[in-house]
């Protein structure tokens, strides 16, 4: 058996923490090797060492059997190691080809030879089934296409070992499926793939071998074919994890949120939400699923007040909130876990304590006659940290920026649930989180439901929608194409509706009241 990359007994210390502790990772040639672990388990550090961004404190690295010292990313590139970063590094107003050749531009005399580069990009794209237009501008192509450009960038540089860092975090279910096919194709053509992820389903689907890390230590390396998801999750988290969201039957009560004939324009000035009607009752979770960009964002922003609507009504209990300022909607009992936690959910340069009071910093007990009460803010933070198990280095005084993504999300969930809103708009609540955190957040959402709140769950993760929701509404092209009972539907049925191929009249409680 030949290993193409071996990282042997790697240890790496950062001030205050041992990020990697005697980790050994051996990767077979022409295989897909998954690296699994929770946020902060040391995956990124290990990969950064392999890519030459960090130097290990001890341990050695062998590539194709030869011991190497990877002192910077250029060395990694020359060894045939390439990395697709989670956050793409592309110039938005450049074309695909211009981005790919950036830094190693082929030239004829003093002039860049863009033609031959385009041709080469096209050839590689065809070989691996990437279907990328070399002349398209980055800003005009979809996120999944941009990811393929990153892949092309590595292939153009003759990378043999491709590191994918959380590649599916930004993709829709369909795009994930396509990416998996591309990965298999890459391996068929002789490449080796190292896949960093915390999504077990993907590992099961595509990987051959899986190495699990926990808190900087190696837990083990297993063959994916012989190991089930439960076992891998247990290795990752260190305890048994339940995948199935434990929940009793919903007891729907009165309608708390009712949307009537809503029209909302999107950023392009076209109608992103078209004549949409929907209602959510007390004590139920209505899941809204659809392919990204079918009007979910516009709908959520219209309900929460971040966008102006064109026409229509949004009732919270029996008050039309469609044109009220955000503040008043919040005060009437609307809660919102936003899609983008770093853009909307948190002020990253504020402390955790300051972030907890972002809605009510001016109210007693947090303020008195316009003067902040730091003690009350601190006590509030300590209570929420305890109650919701939000982990951070310096407790309430930790800058939000210094917290892990999972704990940032937990902080937002804590803040919003603590306000106990009657109508709760929950958008992508577990994006990028690990299994443990996902389990916890789902539990809290169900608990809110059981307390009689109306919950609208918007997610691109089909599993999440199916597990947590009581009813599922499918949005396609700005319209609701069907509402189904979560217990009675299948992934296949939802998939057909999401792609607009199937329309269903409303099942379960009647949703339209005109």
């Amino acid at each position: 058996m030949s290993y193409i990359v071996e990282m042997l007994h790697i240890t790496k210390d950062f001030p205050g923490i041992r990020a990697n502790d005697d980790i050994t990772l051996q990767i077979e040639e022409k295989s897909i090797h998954a690296l699994l672990g929770e946020n902060g388990a040391g995956k990124s550090t290990l990969m950064s060492i392999l890519f030459g961004l960090y130097q290990p404190d001890s341990g050695s690295i062998r590539v194709r059997g030869k011991e190497v010292k990877i002192s910077d990313p250029n060395v990694a590139t020359s060894l045939g190691i390439g990395m697709v970063h989670q956050h793409f590094k592309l110039v938005h107003n450049f074309t695909v080809t211009e981005n790919i050749i950036l830094g190693m531009e082929p030239h004829k005399g003093p002039v860049i030879d863009i033609r031959s580069a385009e041709k080469k990009v096209e050839e590689i794209s065809k070989l691996y089934g990437l279907a990328v237009d070399p002349r398209a501008k980055i800003e005009d192509i979809s996120v999944s296409m941009q990811q393929r450009v990153e892949i092309l960038k590595m292939l153009f540089r003759d990378a043999e070992i491709l590191i994918f860092d959380e590649p599916t975090a930004v993709l829709t279910p369909q795009e994930i499926h396509e990416l998996m096919q591309i990965m298999r194709r890459l391996v068929e053509e002789g490449k080796t793939i190292l896949l960093i992820t915390h999504k077990l389903k993907e590992i099961k689907e595509v990987a051959d071998v899986c190495t699990v890390l926990r808190r900087g230590k190696l837990v083990g390396t297993v063959s994916v074919a012989d190991t089930d998801e439960e076992r891998m999750a247990e290795m990752m988290v260190g305890r048994q994890v339940s995948f199935h969201v434990e929940k009793g039957p919903a007891k729907p009560g009165e309608e708390l949120l009712r949307i009537e004939n809503l029209n909302v324009k999107n950023v392009k000035g076209l109608l992103g939400v078209k004549n949409l009607s929907l209602s959510v009752r007390a004590g139920e979770v209505l899941g809204l699923c659809g392919i990204d960009g079918n009007g979910q964002t516009e709908l959520v922003q219209a309900i929460t007040g971040l966008t102006k609507i064109e026409s229509g009504k949004i009732f919270l209990r029996n008050i039309n909130i469609a044109n009220l300022p955000i503040k008043e909607r919040t005060d009437l009992g609307l809660g919102h876990i936003p899609e983008d936690r770093q853009k909307h959910g948190l002020v990253l340069d504020f402390t955790l304590g300051e972030n907890f009071v972002i809605h009510n910093y001016y109210e007693k007990p947090f303020a008195n006659y316009g003067i902040l009460n730091k003690k009350a803010i601190l006590e509030n933070a300590e209570r929420l940290i305890r109650e919701f198990d939000v982990r951070s280095g310096q407790g309430a005084m930790t800058p939000a920026r210094a917290m892990s993504g999972g704990n940032q999300q937990k902080a937002i969930v804590a803040r919003e649930i603590d306000r106990s809103p009657d109508v709760f708009i929950v958008v992508q609540p577990t994006r990028g989180l690990d299994v443990g955190a996902i389990e916890y957040i789902h539990k809290r959402i169900i608990a809110e439901r059981d307390r009689g709140k109306a919950i609208l769950l918007v997610s691109l993760e089909l599993d999440e929608i199916m597990d947590v929701s009581d009813r599922i509404a499918v949005i396609y092209n700005g319209e609701i194409v069907g509402i189904v009972d979560a217990a009675a539907t299948t992934e296949n049925e939802l998939g057909l509706m999401m792609s607009g191929a199937l329309r269903k009249t409303h099942a379960a409680p009647q949703a339209v009241h005109v």
Binding site: D13, P15, G16, I17, R18, T304, G305, L306, P325, I326, K327, R329, T330, H336, P338, K343, H344, G345, L346, V347, L348, D349, F350, E354, I358, H359, Y361, Y362, A367, G370, I371, L372, P399
Partner: protein, 364 residues
């Protein structure tokens, strides 16, 4: 390094490097850096190391005079900056503040206890109005505040000169008639204890301004919402804050600080309204002061005094045969080094790690 330590250590290193660079340039021109430092020490205290002169309170008074307006314009820049706005408008707001002070000083007749507060209030309101305009344009029409504030500076300059020359009238085409003493911050007492420097009561509003700045930013709900808008406008909007209103309020308050600076100059250092040939640089000095002071009240106080002292030292340097521009070069290079703080931090972190590898291992 912790952020707290960073806030203190990095500016100090920047100041140090600024002086090192200044010394090198002086040495390069063939003069003695020692003479430069002697001039600077004299600018701050009157102590002349080279000729053995003792402390002279006149110099202290004069350097405080230099520091007062740039502390206020520093507060102005910093306040807008905390709301995420880059205001270049302090210069013009200062001129309008000065013009408003001139107007009230010349037109109102009242005893000092009424007249002087009215003069200061007029300056504050004038500056606030001048600041609110770019704030409004930013909030309402999303016009960039940098462009608007720069243009407003020119408008302020020519408006000031027009009013002084054509409405108040000027015999020598340079200044108005002198103000009545009831409008002035001047103090024979302060002058007498500082050997006839121009030191005046202006430092009291400056200290109040520093305290108010720190209070608003750190202690009030208003400051909280301003900082939220400054750090992340979208999150502030999501939380239901009135982002546009905060932008206008922040620019107006920034303008108020700069307007007050205008009064401190016009009825403190001088006692007449002035025709201004071109921008006097208080606005830009204020940006430098705010940057070095880390946008914090205490830091701005220290940075303002440092730059005020350097300004006061300029004529003294010239008398030592050192070009006065060196003081400007030191000031500019300090700002440059502050701007390079990430680089400095990286070097420091490397140094720290090399110094204490064992203690770090113990902590794990």
């Amino acid at each position: 390094m912790t952020t707290r330590k960073e806030k203190i250590v990095l500016p100090l290193i920047a100041v140090l490097l600024g002086f090192v660079l200044g010394s090198l340039i002086v040495a390069f021109t063939g003069r003695s850096p020692l003479a430069m430092y002697a001039a600077i020490v004299k600018g701050f205290s009157g102590i002349d190391i080279l000729n053995g002169q003792p402390l002279n309170s006149r110099y202290i008074g004069e350097f405080i005079i230099q520091a007062m307006p740039i502390i206020l314009t520093g507060l102005s820049f910093a306040f807008a900056s905390r709301t995420g706005l880059f205001s270049i408008g302090a210069e013009g707001q200062l001129m309008i503040g000065s013009l408003s002070a001139t107007t009230v000083a010349l037109l109102v007749r009242a005893p000092t206890v009424i007249h002087l507060p009215l003069v200061l209030l007029a300056a504050i309101l004038g500056g606030a109005l001048w600041g609110a305009i770019p704030g409004f344009l930013k909030a309402r029409y999303n016009v960039h505040e940098v462009v608007v504030t720069i243009m407003m500076n020119y408008i302020a300059l020519h408006f000031n000169n027009f009013v002084i020359l054509h409405i108040f009238g000027s015999v020598d085409r340079v200044k108005t008639a002198p103000f009545p003493t009831t409008a002035l911050l001047k103090s024979p007492f302060l002058e007498s204890i500082t050997r006839n420097s121009r030191l005046n009561w202006g430092f009291i509003p400056v200290i109040l301004a520093l305290l108010i700045f720190a209070f608003i930013i750190n202690k009030t709900t208003f400051g909280y919402s301003l900082r939220a808008v400054g750090y992340n406008k979208e999150a502030a909007r999501y939380a239901g804050m009135k982002v546009n209103r905060n932008i206008i309020a922040s620019m107006a308050i920034a303008g108020a600080f700069a307007g007050l600076a205008g009064a401190v100059i016009t009825v403190g250092t001088f006692n007449f309204g002035r025709v201004i040939q071109s921008a006097e640089g208080y606005g830009f000095d204020g940006i430098a002061v705010a940057l070095v002071g880390g946008n914090e009240a205490f830091g701005i106080l220290l940075a303002g005094m440092l730059f005020g002292g350097l300004k006061a030292a300029q004529p003294l340097m010239q008398s030592q045969g050192i070009p006065r521009e060196i003081a400007g070069i030191i000031q500019a290079s300090i700002v440059l080094f502050v701007a390079m703080k990430f680089g400095i931090k990286m070097v420091l972190d490397k140094f720290e790690r090399k110094q204490a590898p064992t203690t770090e291992g113990d902590r794990v």
